[in-house]
Amino acid sequence: MHAEPKPRPQVRLVEVSKTYGRTTVLDNVNFAAERGEIVVVIGRSGSGKSTLLRLIGGLEEPDRGMIFYGDGVDRDGLGGDRRLDRMSESERAAFRRREIGFVFQFFNLIPTLTVAENVALPLALNGVDKADAAVRVASLLAELGLDGSGERFPEELSGGEQQRVAIARAVAHNPGIVLADEPTGNLDLETAERVLALLDDVCRRHRTTLVMATHSPEVIGRADRVLTIRNARLVETPP
């Protein structure tokens, strides 16, 4: 009788530290998330949640420690064959292009691109054929209740609509991980609830790992796992 193999972590941080000036934001942090898992990171403002997300997303480099991305092949016995902390900026850019989707608190849509063009942006960066991209964009916009808004510009949309466009953009290229930094921080409660539900739903259906930084307690109920950053350390918290 074979034992069920333990799912491999999709991303792993091993003893990672990050300091800004004299402030140590993360100190010897270990973190792992499996494919399709929804992980919520909570903590006070300035506790290091966003920094953790930026390290996972390759937007910043750790001062110490290792960041692994696993694809099922364990070449060095340490968990994965890609060391994000050893990549050049160009390699990290290519990595982000393929593997990561971002959702920001302030949406960060490109104001000079229409809704459809914003969603198609990661597909274009990945060289997806225009016709295929158009089909994918239309389907995503419909899925997120934005059909009919494709030709509008971000400034013509409400905050909730803008965040839904940001979610569509984050998952458009089927990334392995979506990193959401305070995705509801700029929305009213009702809209925030709807946006969270959508994000949750989209990631679960696409088996996309979602790592979400927040300090809103209502998000916690949707998490598979909750981690708290306290005194620059990451602590597992029961959901």
């Binding site: 982000r96 971002f102 920001f104 608190q105 302030f106 960060n108 490109i110 274009a124 953009r169």
Partner: protein
């Protein structure tokens, strides 16, 4: 409250040092160019005045020969019969001593101090003047030359005059009486006559007399001599002034381009703080206080930038003065003014212009800051919407500017200032229309960019339009600078083309044998040259100065060769050239015709050997010889009316081009060594074009400076965009756009900016060239020429626009590459 506002402004600029640097650089460079040109112009004026003064001194009047030279008897008659004691005879000629070409001044040592007063030079010892009278061949050498030759005490020196050798006895030295003036070799009048071989003849007689005596002298002069006031050469002075006005206009243009830069920088500094200003207005700051605060900020910047500009201008002037003098020196005179001198007037004017330009440029942004509604002031989208609306409005405002240009150009058909005002309005119209052109171009490019490069392409194109509040002004500044480059380039190309055409028409012979005044040709030489193998004919020219009430006029008496008169006719009566050959009629050069408003059919009064006489004008011919001859008459008529049978040059027509060297060698055989200069037509053209190119060298420098200021404008705009779009670029990088992709995006945007400026600049530049060719040149120098629609200046201008924008984009692109992603995303 103002104190707080100023303190906040100071901290803002300290945190954004490059913005501070660019704002200061824009105005400083503008002021520097203006001050540099003004100081260089002042030096040129000083050189001109010194040259005139050296010749004129205390002299009030002059007796000049009409055509040839004055007989000694005229002087004797003045002194003995009319009792004019303050009269000094003068002989001038060229002389070479110790390998240097100098002027030889023959004077009466006793009269010189009384009449001219040693203005240009003073003898080292007072007794040296007397020795000139006693010692045969005695001369006073310029101090520097004597030192170089090691002359000390009485020393024999070898000299060459009109192809002849002579031994002179240096008995002393002379030094410049005023700084920067050329010092001649000075000798007694009798020695000068002996050296030049012109016994019994004088070059002129200088007089120091009152109006009554002047009337008596004028009435008593024999035919062939005339009395003129000892004034400067007005025609040359006008020419020099026109040249200086052109330079000043170019200098001011640099300041205008600098104004764009300060406007752009101030506008951006205000836009960057729109949230702060919005908050200040929201908490109750009076709009007037905000307006005054922002204006004070501009004033402080303006004062600092102007101070720097004045210092830079002084340095720049040292470089420009050589170029200005080289140009004017080529026209007519030489001087030893070599450095620009400080001028309080120029500095005050430069300071007023610099500070004024800054305050005017900052007015719009200051009003914007004070007027913006608190809520709207915080929204970028609102600002860009406003900018797009303004660009459309500005494009419509170009129409009144063009109408103003047309009005200004039509009301004063001779005014150079109004011509420049018209040119300025055309530039303003061009600048106003440029943001709208940029917008339209980007809209037209959108589908192409999307098809070719997909969403990154769209991002680049839309990025330009989306930042119109930044890019609009920068593109306009670049377009104006590039239009100037194209305009001047097209004008120079057209002028050069016209000059070559004119030279080829005018220089009908293949070789020219020219003689100094003191080494005249004789008929036997002409006959001998005409009889040489391979010579198909000769043409003869006599050049003379005619002193008239209108100033000295250059007269060219010609006997045409087998290829005719070599006149490029602008306007003529029927059968003009036939009449010119056989009747006492004249053709006048275009600049003179323009200056005196003369046309064929009019009459021109000229002094002849037999007194004044009216000459019908049969033709107006093209003449680009600045300060050269202005009137053409047939040689036969000249000899008859002016009693002068001299020849200044012989044009030799050769049967075949290949035989020119052989004919040249044969002519040299016929003449004593060094008695004349022989030059081929190709040689004349080559020298003329070299002078032409040197003349316009200064415009290259000024064009370059204008381009640098425009470049700084683009750099400023791009750095502004870099700051404003930092988060947008960080998002793109987060989505996976690599550093190279981001750099490509930035450089594509900046190239598009340059392309938009180029597209706007080509028609503006062409309009500018047309104005320069048809209006400014005509009013400045009286020249007409045809506009050569050459592609090269436009292409060079377009390359400059795109190149400047591209280079300006490199630094912001590098900064974006280096920008901390995390930080950019953190800063909301």
């Amino acid at each position: 409250m103002r104190d707080l506002l100023l303190r906040a402004s100071a901290r803002f600029y300290l945190r954004h040092p490059w913005q501070l640097a660019l704002a200061i650089a824009g105005v400083a460079l503008g002021v520097a160019v203006y001050v540099g040109v003004a100081l260089a112009n002042d030096s040129a004026r000083r050189a001109f005045e010194l040259s005139s003064e050296a010749v004129t001194g205390r002299t009030t009047h002059r007796v000049l020969p009409i055509g040839g030279a004055l007989p000694d008897e005229v002087f004797t008659d003045l002194v003995t019969r009319l009792g004019i004691s303050r009269a000094a005879p003068v002989i001038e000629a060229g002389i070479a001593v110790g390998g240097r070409r100098l002027s030889l001044l023959g004077i009466d040592p006793l009269k010189e101090p009384i009449v001219r007063g040693f203005v240009g030079w003073v003898p080292e010892r007072a007794s040296d003047g007397a020795r000139l009278l006693i010692e045969p061949g005695a001369v006073l050498l310029p101090e520097t030359l004597a030192a170089d030759l090691g002359v000390d005490g009485d020393t024999s020196v070898e000299a060459r005059l009109g192809g002849r050798s002579a031994t002179l006895l240096a008995v002393g030295t002379v030094r410049a009486a005023a700084r920067d003036t050329d010092v001649p070799v000075v000798t007694d009048i009798a020695t000068a006559q002996a050296l030049t071989g012109r016994f019994g003849l004088l070059y002129r007689i200088d007089l120091r007399i009152d109006d009554d005596d002047a009337a008596r002298v004028a009435a008593a002069l024999p035919p062939g001599a005339t009395l003129v006031p000892a004034e400067r050469d007005t025609a040359f002075e006008q020419l020099t002034q026109a040249f200086q006005v052109n330079l000043t206009a170019l200098g001011l243009l640099a300041l205008v381009v600098g104004m764009f830069l300060i406007y752009s920088t101030m506008a951006f500094a205000i836009v960057q703080r729109r949230a702060v200003f919005g908050t200040l207005l929201a908490i109750g700051l009076a709009r007037r206080d905000l307006l005054v605060g922002v204006w004070l900020e501009a004033l402080v910047l303006g004062v600092a930038a102007t101070g720097l500009g004045l210092a830079l201008g002084h340095v720049l002037a040292q470089g420009l003065v050589d170029l200005v003098l080289a140009t004017i020196g080529d026209f007519s005179f030489s001087s030893r003014v070599t450095a620009a001198e400080p001028s309080v007037r120029v500095y005050l004017l430069g300071a007023a212009l610099g500070i004024g330009a800054t305050l005017v440029s900052a007015l719009g942004p200051a009003v914007d800051a004070a007027r913006g509604a608190p809520a709207a002031a915080m929204r970028r989208a609102a600002l860009e919407r406003q900018s797009r609306a303004r660009s459309r409005l500005a494009a419509w405002c170009a129409l009144p500017a063009l109408v103003a240009a047309a009005v200004v150009l039509s009301i004063g058909s001779r005014s150079l200032m109004l011509a420049f005002a018209g040119l300025f309005f055309v530039l303003v119209a061009g600048a106003l229309v440029t943001p709208a052109v940029t917008s339209l171009l980007m809209r037209a490019l959108e589908p192409l960019a999307e098809r070719g490069f997909g969403i990154p392409g769209l991002l680049a194109v839309r990025g330009v339009t989306a930042s119109l509040s930044r890019t609009g002004v920068a593109t306009a500044a670049l377009a104006v600078a590039v239009a100037t480059v194209i305009g001047i380039g097209l004008m120079i190309t057209s002028f050069r083309g016209s000059l070559i055409e004119w030279l080829e028409t005018t220089l009908t012979a293949d070789l020219y044998v020219s003689f100094d005044e003191s080494a005249r040709s004789d008929d036997d030489l002409v006959t001998a040259i005409a009889a040489l193998p391979d010579v198909s004919g000769t043409s003869l020219t006599r050049v003379a100065r005619l002193p008239t009430a209108l100033g000295d006029l250059g007269l060219r008496a010609a006997q045409p060769g087998p290829e005719g008169w070599g006149l490029e006719i602008v306007e003529a009566q029927a059968g003009a050239l036939e009449r010119l050959g056989s009747e006492p009629v004249v053709a006048v050069a275009e600049p003179l015709a323009f200056r005196l408003e003369l046309r064929p059919g009019d009459r021109l009064t000229l002094p002849t050997a037999a007194g004044e006489r009216e000459f019908p004008i049969v033709a107006v011919y093209r003449d680009y010889d600045a300060g050269g001859s202005s009137i053409v008459v047939s040689l036969a008529q000249y000899r008859r009316l002016w009693n002068d049978d001299g020849v200044s040059s012989i044009g030799v027509h050769v049967t075949e081009r290949s035989r020119i060297p052989a004919v040249e060698a044969a002519i040299r055989e016929l003449m004593p060594r060094g008695s004349a200069r022989i030059i081929s037509t190709d040689g004349v053209i080559e020298i003329s074009l070299a002078v032409f190119d040197r003349t316009f060298k200064i415009t290259e420098v000024l064009r370059l400076l204008a381009a640098i200021i425009a470049f700084l404008g683009v750099l400023s705009a791009l750095l502004s965009i870099e700051i404003e779009k930092a988060r947008e670029h960080a998002v793109l990088r987060a989505l996976g756009l690599g550093p190279r992709g981001l750099a490509t995006l930035t450089l594509t945007q900046t190239t598009l900016l340059g392309a938009a400026a180029a597209i706007a600049a080509i028609p503006i530049g062409t309009a500018l060239a047309a104005l320069l060719v048809y209006v400014i040149n005509r009013r400045s120098f009286g020249w007409t020429m045809s506009l050569d629609p050459a592609a090269e200046p436009a292409l060079a201008g377009a390359a400059l626009a795109v190149g400047a924008a591209l280079v300006a984009g490199i630094y912001p692109a590098l900064r974006m590459r280096r920008a901390e992603l995390g930080r950019a995303l953190r800063e909301e």
